[in-house]
C-alpha cells in the first residue's frame, strides 16, 4: 500500500518536473511564431491571434545567419578532428608505451581541462596578439581574431578531457593483442593507427558528439579572442543580434531556435553517444 502511494508520488513528481523543464524552451518556440506587435500588446502569456514564420525568415535574412553558421563549421569541424587525433595519440602513449612520465602527463592534461577558462584568458589574450600567422591562416596577421586561433584554443583546452576518457578506454584493451601485433612485426604507428583506433571507435564516436556540441556552444573563447563581429561563430553572434534587434524579441526567439537546431538534431539522433561520452570519463577511471 505504501509502495503504491510512493510510486504514484514519484510519477506525479516526474511528470510535473518534466513539464516545468519544458516550459522555457516551448515558450521561446511559441514566442518565435508570434508577431512582435501582438506580444508587445498582450505579453508572451496570451492566446495567439496570428502565428507566422515571418520571424524566422526575417531573422535568417537580416542577420547574415548563413555566414555565422559557416564560421561555426569552419571552427568546429577541424577542432573536433584535431582534438581526437592528438588526444588519442597521447592516450595511446600513456597507456601502451611504458615511459616514466606517463602519470605526470595524464595529470597535466586532465588538470589543464579542469581549469576555469578565465584563469588563463589574460595572458592568453596577450599571447594571441604576439604570435604572428601567415596571411592565408589569419587575415589579421596574428592568432588573435582568427579562425586558426579559435581552433587552437578549443583543441588545447578539450584535449585534456579526451586524453582522460580515451586512456581509460584503451586500458580495457587486452595487452595480448598488442603482443600478438608486435610478433607480427607491427611498429608503433601501426599499433596505434591500425589496432588501437578501430577498437576505440565507440569512445571516439561518443567524444566526437560531445566535442561537436561543446565547441559549437562555446561562447567565452569566441567573444574574447575574436574581435571582428563577422568572424564570430553563431553561438556568440547570437549575443550581438540580441543588441541589434533589442526592440524585436520575437525575432531573437526565432534566431535562438535556429541556432539550437544543430544541437537538438545531435541530441535526438545521438543522445546515447552524447551521454556515453559524458559518463565514460567518470565511471571507468
Amino acid at each position: 500500500m505504501r509502495r503504491t502511494a510512493w510510486r504514484t508520488g514519484a510519477y506525479a513528481f516526474m511528470i510535473v518536473a518534466c513539464l516545468a523543464w519544458l516550459v522555457p524552451v516551448l515558450l521561446a518556440l511559441y514566442v518565435s511564431f508570434r508577431p512582435n506587435a501582438e506580444t508587445s500588446q498582450y505579453g508572451y502569456a496570451s492566446l495567439p491571434h496570428h502565428l507566422t514564420f515571418r520571424n524566422y525568415t526575417d531573422a535568417w535574412a537580416q542577420s547574415d545567419m548563413l555566414r555565422f553558421f559557416g564560421n561555426s563549421v569552419l571552427i568546429t569541424v577541424p577542432a573536433v578532428i584535431l582534438t581526437l587525433l592528438l588526444a588519442s595519440m597521447v592516450a595511446f602513449v600513456v597507456t601502451r608505451v611504458s615511459i616514466k612520465v606517463n602519470l605526470a602527463l595524464l595529470l597535466l592534461f586532465t588538470a589543464g581541462n579542469l581549469l576555469p577558462q578565465q584563469v588563463i584568458i589574460t595572458p592568453l589574450y596577450r599571447l594571441y596578439l604576439l604570435i604572428p600567422l601567415p596571411g592565408f591562416l589569419s587575415p589579421s596577421g596574428y592568432l588573435f581574431d582568427s579562425y586558426t586561433g579559435l581552433i587552437v584554443i578549443n583543441v588545447a583546452f578539450q584535449t585534456g578531457f579526451c586524453v582522460f576518457v580515451l586512456s581509460n578506454y584503451m586500458r580495457t584493451i587486452p595487452g595480448e593483442m598488442y603482443e600478438a601485433a608486435e610478433v607480427d612485426g607491427a611498429g608503433l604507428w601501426a599499433r596505434y593507427w591500425r589496432l588501437t583506433l578501430p577498437l576505440c571507435r565507440p569512445a571516439l564516436a561518443a567524444l566526437a558528439t560531445l566535442l561537436t556540441t561543446w565547441i559549437y556552444n562555446d561562447f567565452f573563447w569566441a567573444i574574447t579572442l575574436i574581435s571582428t563581429g563577422g568572424k564570430r561563430p553563431v553561438t556568440s553572434a547570437l549575443a550581438n543580434l540580441q543588441g541589434q534587434f533589442v526592440s524585436n524579441q520575437n525575432l531573437i526567439a526565432a534566431a535562438a531556435m535556429i541556432v539550437a537546431v544543430p544541437t537538438l538534431v545531435v541530441y535526438l539522433l545521438l543522445q546515447r553517444q552524447f551521454i556515453a561520452g559524458l559518463t565514460l570519463g567518470s565511471t571507468k577511471g
Binding site: 515558450l27 597521447v90 602527463l105 581549469l115 589574450y125 556552444n217 567573444i223 540580441q242 559518463t279
Partner: protein
Amino acid sequence: MLAVPVLADLAFIWGPALVSVALSLFNWSGIGGLHARGCIPGGLFPDNGCFNGVQNYHQAATNYPPFWPAVRHNLSWLGVFVFLATPLGMFFAVLIDSGLKGSRVYQTVLFLPVMLSLALIGIIWEFLYSPNYGVINTVIGHNTNANLIDWLGDPSINLWSVLVEASWRQAGYVMVLYLAGLKAVDPSLQEAARIDGASAWQTFWHVTFPSIMPMNIVVAVVTVIESLRAFDLVYITNKGTNGLELLSALITSNIVGETSRIGFGSALGVVLLVISLVPISVFLYQMFVRREAR
C-alpha cells in the same frame, strides 16, 4: 606522437596559467614593455610596466568595489548548486533508476538543457523573466508599470533569477552522472535491505549512497568547478554587473573592456586559479588513488 599535443597544452594552457602569476606582480596596460623598476607608491604619473609586488592583490581586496560582491556571488552560486541543483539531479536519477515507466522520456526531457549553450539559455529565459511581457509577472499579476518585478535587472534578486537558469541546466548534468553511477550498484543489496524492512529513504541512505561514493566525488568536483567557471549566463544577461558580478566576469572585463589592465586582471585570475586548484587536486587524488587500488 607526444610532442605536438604536449607543446600545445604547455603553450596555451599551463604557460598562460604560470605567466599570469608573474604578470599579476606588474602594473601593466599591455602596451609597451615590462621593466624591473618598482612602482612608486602614490606616484603622480602612472608608470606603465613597473613591478608592483603584491599591490594588485592588495588593491583587489581593499580598493576594488566589485571584488567582494563577486566572491560572495561565486559562493552563492556554489551554495545553490550544492543544496539545490545537485540534490535535485540526484533525486531525478534515483527515481529514473527505480524503474518508473517512461524513464527514457524523463531522461530526454530533463537532460535537454545541457545540450543548449548557456548563451542561448540566457536568451530564452528572458521570455519568462521580462518585466512587461514575461510569463512570470503576467501570471503573478505584477505586469503593470506600478508593480513590475525586474527579475534580471534588480540587483537584489537577479543573482537568484540567473541561478534558477543555471540550476535548470546543472540538475540534468548531475542526473546523467548519477544515472551512470547507479547502474554500477548491485540491485540485490537494495532488495536485501528492503526485505529486512528498510524504508526507501533508509535503503538509499545506507545502501545506495555509499556504493556510489566514487561518483559522489566526481559530482562534487564538477559542482565546485562549474560554480567557479560560471560566466556565460551573467555575461549574456548584463555583462556581469549590477548584482551579477562574478570573479570570471571581472577578469574578462579587465581585458576586453575599455580599460586594459593586464597586471590587475592577472591577479584576479591567480585568485581564481588558487581556488580552483583545490577541487582539481581532489579529483586527481581520487583518480590516482583509485587507479593504484586496482
